[in-house]
């Protein structure tokens, strides 16, 4: 299985079928598969905090939901996490293309990319980072289990070392 197929499997295994996202060239390797798969409903949001709102609404009405975004957009979603998901204890798995690491070509992506995990730590939220696909199936299954058991958002950060990234 490719890294993208591993993510699809984890979402299906945890019955997470509504995917709200803001497009990203690397994460497109997953969202393009999701778009073709009748198990899923892919919803395009205009901004990442909106994607969080859509996912919370879906979960509230009984359909588990995940969010896909890029690290720059994570900055747009922080208040939605802090003032909606955390106080209402909403489990939203987030898959984030983590920019700003080895191979980054765009200096405008570095600061926010480096800040994602410290912000998650400050919010008291769990995150995992995947640089390669070793043990990926086990890590993703465990991350989804933890997310729903803890009933809080959780981030899986996907780096350029994993997905190849965007070339300059």
């Amino acid at each position: 299985m490719s890294w993208a197929e591993n993510i699809i499997k984890a979402l299906k295994d945890w019955d997470t079928s509504l995917i709200a996202y803001v497009p990203d060239i690397s994460i497109d390797q997953v969202t393009s598969l999701i778009d073709k798969d009748p198990f899923f409903r892919l919803v395009s949001a205009t901004r990442e905090e909106e994607a969080i709102g859509i996912a919370v609404g879906s979960y509230a009405a009984g359909r588990n939901a995940a969010v896909f975004m890029q690290s720059s957009g994570f900055g747009n979603s922080v208040n939605a996490l802090a003032s909606l998901c955390i106080p209402s204890r909403t489990p939203i798995p987030m898959f984030i293309n983590l920019r700003g690491g080895p191979g980054e070509f765009n200096m405008a992506q570095v600061a926010m990319g480096r800040a994602v995990r410290p912000i998650m730590d400050q919010l008291g939220l769990v995150h995992f980072t995947l640089d390669d696909d070793r043990n990926m199936e086990k890590i993703l299954d465990g991350a989804m289990k933890l997310c729903y058991a803890n009933r809080q958002p959780l981030a899986v950060c996907l780096t350029q070392l994993l997905h190849g990234g965007k070339l300059a």
Binding site: E49, E50, I52, G57, A60, N79, L84
Partner: protein, 182 residues
């Protein structure tokens, strides 16, 4: 009035007076009161409308809607038949001192909705027209977008709402409650 017309339909209410008024109109487990996340009321309602076939109602505010105009575009893109958005438009930010909002300076949210491809839109300014518009919206395929021009009124006491209870009380009307260890 909206609560009465809604029957068992899920209602999401914007932070502040929209949620307080909804609570004081009579609590129901299908009320999703919000007390933070300004701007996301109708985004939450959009997510609900994509998770259930039931009619979903969003009680939003002009200030919040202005903070997240993109969600009107997303509603126009997805066109959920089962979503009705009511925007309480007092043309000001009531909670922060009554500063004039953009709708008091010319922004027309109904026209924004129309330009995003939402065809069933209406602006009303009295209770009778509001009742007719909401009643019609709940009987007709949407999405429906109603702008209700309102006057500033006295605030009701803040509703005693806990976000976690709100979410799980609401969710448990759709799914079996979680059991310990699940």
């Amino acid at each position: 009035m909206v609560s009465r017309l809604a029957g068992e339909s899920p209602i999401v209410s914007n932070l502040g007076p929209s949620s307080d008024e909804l609570w004081h109109a009579g609590h129901r487990d299908r009320n999703f009161y919000t007390y933070g996340n300004m701007g996301l009321c109708s985004s939450i309602a959009l997510g609900m409308a994509m998770a259930t076939d039931e009619q979903v109602i969003s009680l939003d505010g002009d200030g919040s809607m202005l903070m997240n105009l993109g969600t009107i575009a997303s509603i126009g893109r997805e066109k959920p038949k089962n979503l009705t958005v009511v925007v309480w438009d007092n043309e000001k930010w009531g909670q922060t001192g009554g500063q004039t909002s953009h709708t008091g300076m010319g922004t027309d949210l109904e026209q924004v909705a129309r330009s995003c491809g939402i065809t069933r839109t209406k602006t009303v300014s009295d209770l009778e027209d509001l009742e007719a518009a909401v009643s019609d919206a709940l009987k007709t395929d949407g999405p429906n977008f109603i702008v209700a021009k309102i006057e500033e009124a006295e605030y009701l006491p803040v509703a005693p709402v806990e976000p976690e209870f709100t979410l799980y009380r609401f969710r448990n009307t759709f799914v079996e409650p979680r059991k310990p260890g699940q």
